[in-house]
């Protein structure tokens, strides 16, 4: 067992873990954060995507011991006291989810992309190539991310 100390969704966490414990299983089974989903467990589907020290990563391709001292954010951190985040609200408006299995990972990856730039349609589609969705056909997901991008860009311009 190895003791790890980290911050998850703003809360300090101290736990003893076996080195082989995956970050996904740590989040879900130890911390009860079941919003992070487990799909393929080999880095292909993107359902387990979480934020580690400001960038999006595959939770299934990381060991919990590796994130000792880090800051982890999961889908549970997106909505505030005043409701859905702008990106989540855009997903809702555009019906960008059906079964919802892929949604947490897509939201985290999209937040990462949007935090870096105003991504083009092509850049959004390219990012989504690493996030498998079998329900929507992606069009409403792309539309929602584009709307959130435009909203952010408008807010930046008006200085709000």
């Amino acid at each position: 067992m190895t003791r790890i100390t980290l911050t998850v969704n703003g809360r300090k966490v101290v736990e003893d873990v076996e080195p082989r414990l995956l970050l996904t299983d740590f989040l879900r089974h130890r911390l009860g954060l079941t919003g992070t989903h487990v799909g393929c467990e080999h880095g292909v589907c993107g359902a387990c995507t979480v934020q580690l020290d400001t960038v999006s990563v595959r939770g299934c391709c990381l060991l919990a011991v590796q994130v000792d001292g880090s800051v982890v954010e999961t889908v549970e951190s997106l909505a505030g006291d005043d409701g859905l985040s702008p990106l989540q609200a855009a997903f809702k408006r555009h019906h960008a989810l059906q079964c919802g299995f892929c949604t947490p990972g897509i939201l985290i990856a999209a937040e990462d992309l949007l935090s870096r730039c105003d991504p083009s349609h092509e850049e959004i589609v390219d990012m989504l190539s690493g996030q498998l969705c079998r329900c929507t056909g992606y069009a409403p997901i792309v539309a929602a991310i584009e709307e959130a991008r435009d909203e952010r860009s408008r807010q930046r311009e008006t200085g709000q």
Binding site: T2, R20, L22, E41, L62, Q66, D68, M127, S129, G130
Partner: protein
């Protein structure tokens, strides 16, 4: 889909990492883990000790003409670094996905030596260098003497890739990368990197490296030699593509027949060569 039990050491320096690796013959180094952790999950790899390099101080990028890239520099970092050679910047978006590049490392891709990996292909095409260090010291290795076949390199037991060295773009030089995969982010069916110099409208120092249809970054001296001194027209590029298509010997798979892969490789060589030539102008 859970790894076997293993011990874990987060090395705080290169010395500590080399010492830990040397302690256990079934030890494995882990960098980004974007190939290793899936293999652990599927129990294709069963190490008894995992030595984490992420905090070993191997994440620096320095430029003294040559770009010295620490082994644990993230792929996304190099993808967006203006000092990165244009060939590698063109190839980087083909490495895994947006999210996996955040964690995957440059050195890890090189050490893993997947025959379909873009970073080794570019390193070989550019004539870069792999710096390895182990209990017996540090040495520099030519990529063409490093990659043996899928997942096999000439690294000695206990040796680690600590750095890769990338030559800067040269005058009169043009480079291009081409890949075809069934879906974005999938392993390539075939990929090609071309570097060419255009001196007085004649091709010189042509370097063509082909991957995915081969088991490692592979050059074909006769294809390169045939281009030396020529003015690259579409017809010349098509001829070079045909030579490359005849030179490779892909096995074929459920996704593509050997004939298809040969034709595809020829097309990719033709396209990459033409674009590299235009860029060299």
């Amino acid at each position: 889909m859970k790894p076997v039990a293993f011990e874990y050491v987060a090395a705080r320096s290169l010395e500590e990492a080399i010492e830990a690796i040397g302690r256990d013959e079934d030890a494995k180094p882990i960098a980004g883990g974007q190939s290793l952790v899936p293999a652990l999950n599927m129990r294709l790899v069963r190490p008894t000790l995992l030595v984490d390099l992420n905090r070993a101080g191997l994440d620096g990028i320095e430029s003294d003409g040559v770009l010295r890239v620490g082994a644990t520099v993230r792929q996304t970092t190099l993808e967006h670094d203006v000092r990165t050679h244009p060939l590698l910047r063109e190839a980087m978006p083909f490495v895994g996905h947006f999210v996996t590049r955040n964690r995957g490392t440059v050195g890890g891709s090189v050490a893993h030596a997947d025959g379909s990996a873009e970073i080794p292909l570019c390193l070989s095409a550019l004539g870069g260098t792999i710096v390895a260090e182990g209990p017996r010291g540090r040495r520099e290795i030519d990529p063409d003497a490093f990659f043996v076949t899928h997942f096999l390199t000439t690294l000695e037991p206990g040796e680690l890739v600590v750095e890769t060295l990338w030559p800067p773009p040269e005058e009169f030089e043009g480079a291009a990368f081409e890949e075809f995969a069934l879906r974005a982010g999938d392993y390539a069916l075939s990929m090609v990197a071309v570097v060419v110099k255009r001196v007085e409208d004649m091709a010189a120092d042509v370097r063509i490296r082909i991957g995915a249809v081969t088991d490692r970054p592979t050059g074909f001296a006769d294809v390169e030699a045939a281009l030396d001194g020529s003015f690259v027209t579409p017809a010349v590029a098509r001829e070079a593509g045909a030579l490359a298509a005849a030179a490779v010997d892909p096995g074929g798979s459920i996704h593509a027949t050997p004939e298809y892969l040969r034709a595809l490789t020829g097309t990719l060589v033709e396209r990459a060569l033409l674009r590299a030539w235009e860029r060299a102008a």
